[in-house]
Subunit: 688 residues, 2 copies
Amino acid sequence: MTDIVADNDEVNDDQEDRRLSASEDQTPRSFCLQSFVNLYGDEPHLSRFDHIKHYAKKHCGSVTFLCCLNIFLDKIPLLYCLKKYNIRKNLFGDIIAGITVAIMHIPQGMAYGVLTTLPPIYGLYVSFFPVIIYMIFGTCPHLSIGTFAVISLMIAQAIEGVVPLPMDMINNTTIVSNESNSLLNNEKVQVATTLALLVGLVQLLLSFLRLGFLTVYLTEPFISGFTSGAAVHVFTSQIPSLFGVKSPSRIEGAFKLPKFYIKLIRLLFYKINWISTAIGIISIIILFFSKYFNERYKSKIRIVLPCELILVIIGTVLSHFVRLDSKYDISVVGEIKRGLPSPVFPSLNSIDKLIVPAITIAAVSLSISISMAKMFSRKHGYKVSSNQELLAYGMANVISSFFKCYPSAGSLSRSVVQEGSGGKTLLIGGFSSIVLGSVIIALTPLFRSLPMTCLAAIIIVNLKGLFYQMKDFIFYFHISVLECLLWTITFTSVVLFDVDIGLYVGICTSFIINTIRTQKPRFVTLGQVEHTGIYKNVVYFPSAHQYSKIKVLRFDESLYACNVPFFKRKFYELIDIHLEHSPIISCREDTHKHADKFNFKYVILECSTFNFIDTVGVKLLIEIFNDLKRRGIVLYLSECRFEVRHTFDAMKFYEKTEFHIIYVTTHDAVTAARNQLNRASTPDHTII
Amino acid sequence: MTDIVADNDEVNDDQEDRRLSASEDQTPRSFCLQSFVNLYGDEPHLSRFDHIKHYAKKHCGSVTFLCCLNIFLDKIPLLYCLKKYNIRKNLFGDIIAGITVAIMHIPQGMAYGVLTTLPPIYGLYVSFFPVIIYMIFGTCPHLSIGTFAVISLMIAQAIEGVVPLPMDMINNTTIVSNESNSLLNNEKVQVATTLALLVGLVQLLLSFLRLGFLTVYLTEPFISGFTSGAAVHVFTSQIPSLFGVKSPSRIEGAFKLPKFYIKLIRLLFYKINWISTAIGIISIIILFFSKYFNERYKSKIRIVLPCELILVIIGTVLSHFVRLDSKYDISVVGEIKRGLPSPVFPSLNSIDKLIVPAITIAAVSLSISISMAKMFSRKHGYKVSSNQELLAYGMANVISSFFKCYPSAGSLSRSVVQEGSGGKTLLIGGFSSIVLGSVIIALTPLFRSLPMTCLAAIIIVNLKGLFYQMKDFIFYFHISVLECLLWTITFTSVVLFDVDIGLYVGICTSFIINTIRTQKPRFVTLGQVEHTGIYKNVVYFPSAHQYSKIKVLRFDESLYACNVPFFKRKFYELIDIHLEHSPIISCREDTHKHADKFNFKYVILECSTFNFIDTVGVKLLIEIFNDLKRRGIVLYLSECRFEVRHTFDAMKFYEKTEFHIIYVTTHDAVTAARNQLNRASTPDHTII
């Protein structure tokens, strides 16, 4: 590491005076990187082994029994909550919030239960068991775990894949006997619980492997596009129920949308039930109106009006006394068993067919839940750990799969209410479960006359939040082309194809977009802002000086394989070297172009933008250095980070080029170039 | 754009003196970005429409007939070559190179023809037609288009997918009649030509859409890993031929390697033909030896010894006179038709089954060929355009598909010989084709007694280059973990699964790696290098000063969705704010940790590393700014690029934070912070 700098001899002579000054009137001085590092630097070269030793020392140095116990207790955030619990401050709010959410859980649970093609009682189970377990392991008090529209739809798809509908039900020709129906339901419930077990295991595995960080790849535009697209599917799946068409609501097909709509329209034309439609539409209007009312007078009345529950009660009472089902042939919920299920080990029969849907559902459920939890944590300033959340979701799904539950997830609409109704701690879930438990034990048989169209109305109105998300498209459209593209591709592929295909398309698009972003960055010419050592883009700072015969460039991205060809083309373009051959039949205008070919003697590339460089990038810089040398041009680099210099070292960059081509700052490099030019007899100080 | 800077009033007073000076003894002064832009900047806000207008003006301003003609002629690089052709200088070298390559083409064409499961004559066709067409449209004189091992193997797989082997051939129980064999061959040839047509059309489409830039995603580690892995498959496919085992050489299977090897070993145990094995191994030894000889004495003798051709001739003569086929039951090439095929339109019967293999083959063939062409262009300094190359490959495949050719690609072994034998221009291909044409017309029947084991030996020896590539693994291992990972994943998935699955796995891995690279960048504390305005990582520059109560940080990557959680965690860690809650059972050591909690009053984040920022990143900065404000800490940003500021503007960053938090340089921000600290009565100049 000797001082090999040609024009830097003064630096060592007067080390007292080594301040970097940009003023024109002083003697120009410049720091070559090597001498700078020699003077000030101390670059430790830790081997990989040293790193591991260091890490082990830091983490295992103070292992005590207490620490181990704390690590274990750390996994049960409820304990912290209880330890710090302030009864006077929190209890009332938590109870109110718990009851409010429980009241929402009842109709939503039944509605989403129907959406999974299972009997509605199973939705209530999912509103009960997972909530208790999330209370123990979860970290976000405002997240309402339970049934969720998009997940319910995906469960319905998974069930259909394993338990196909019998032909007579599809053709709707014969009336299905109660017995065969309950057999079919049993089979479906088995599939759903297996699915919950698998989803839970996937989430637990991710948590144990501490792969919670993977959720960062599920970015906001992706989740927004995905859930908006899924909302379209949920909506269309509810149309037959709403219009009282007695037919399996979902029709399969690879290219889903067009086929589905044609069938749907045909069904609606022939088999519409006007009374069911009327009830459904009135329900929707009532719900919308009361939700608006709630929103409007939220500040004045503390307790939210339980509009959905009121609708359910009115609907049930009306239907019971008018005998809607027998007189007007309207589908109703039907007989519901009372009481909590006893624990049963989920069947493991169709595991092989369920693994792929389980992974998909696990991914969707955790991405939606975690993004919601993070949103609340930002708003209220508490910490949410992705790995702990994964543990909570996993435990919730695994344990509740023993109690005939299907996979659960956080629901946006309930979580917003849970947040708004004044609850502060994890105990909300406990109070909510107490209410739910009593309903399941005592009140479920009362709902037997509830018309299905009311449940469809509840689902449709609850989609409001997801549909409202579509305005994100406009937000991204204004701010970032690529994020907008990600949103659009995800949304369209979910709507046109299917929820799971859309999920994978969206994830692939995320990764591709991260690459595309670095493809064609700006490549700008810099100039010196007068009297300072600052170099700025000459387009935005037109007064910035460019010295003749010196070109200062900056490439606004790390240089690596995927943008190397772009860099090369643009680089030569910017320094006016034309690599292309002359045309076959020469046009005259082109000839004078080559006159000013060798305009520049020094090209300075500012590397402050290179956050990393790969082997292809280094090879290109070596190639360019040697090519420019042949043309009599000198290439200087400036402001290279340690990471980049490390790769240079590994690739033996300095052996293939020259040692002193790297300068500390751009200004140093320019000063060095100007000194060289001055020395070359022609005092060329003119400014372009 | 008024001057809203609090501590910057002096700037406007003495504008004469606005030089940036870092010296301690002068009055510290600092540039807030806004005032800096006001003073020097001029940020043009071009609308998207203006951009298009500008672009149209630039490109369509001077459209003349001559230009159009030139654009057309530009697509035929042979014309340039002929225009500039120097007979005295180039002709001799080109003829020698042409003949040398043609001599290599003959045995390789037959060998790779056999590898595709077609009769060997079709390999010779592929060595003839595509070469002529590439000569017209191609740009790289050293690239030898024709048969290539990996592509041949993939063609064999595609053919097997459409034309399954008859059961009796698989079980090898009966001797297949000549008639059924020729019928089968006809069918196979049809599939192969259809495949060539489709591959060509895919490549032409890519060329017309100017998607040649997509080849940048096929990075060097990927191609190296892929071809090395494919070489393993080519090698194993030749083992049965080499050992004289009369059985279909390839065995299908999703998880290929273990099954394949078990079957292979079983075959070898029972049906090995010792004479064939002996001939094969002797051939391999002779080839290796003569290749070594060629390499060694390359500089002394100009013409390369045609070792492969010699082996073929010796093999044929020996086999003919000893009657190897009838006496020792050794497979020979068999009857070969003489003459060139007349043009036939390829059959379009099994297009639907061939589209996916065609896309895969097109991708592999163009990535291998283009990467080779680029390698030669770097070495010899001529320009290779990916779009023009794509056009050339596409035309070669489409046109030659009418002449019973299967898909072609560049071959590494032949290209190296073509380069080494002194040829300089595209005419090499022409001379090579003249030789090949005469061989096909006159000499092919002579090869009927050539033992297959000799062809297997030729293929295996030619794999040397691809196997030798495996040392790339060690190269990448030393330089870049991620590139090494890409190589390994691609190689392993090709070897373990299959060539096409490996291709897709490798491409996905490339994209994922580009994202992973930006996940956990360095996040460093900066200090001022004494007497300069330069701020460097305090780990590598231990003498760099850190002012008390001021923390200067730099995050070595663009801030966007995928690294936002990491940024946040690390940021708070670096400024000693612990977001984690205290443990349930408090250990005593932890208590004193919180004493120095509010150590810093100013946090400065250098944003020179942000090449872009996305909406999530901006939201995080806003969140951090407001959180720090609540804790009584001020956040400054410095050195933000225009791109980043543009996103700030779009996200209304300044409305949600404060206007003057961005400074031009880090030094400006530090100076501003120190001024503020000084003003706050305590003259805190001490240096940590």
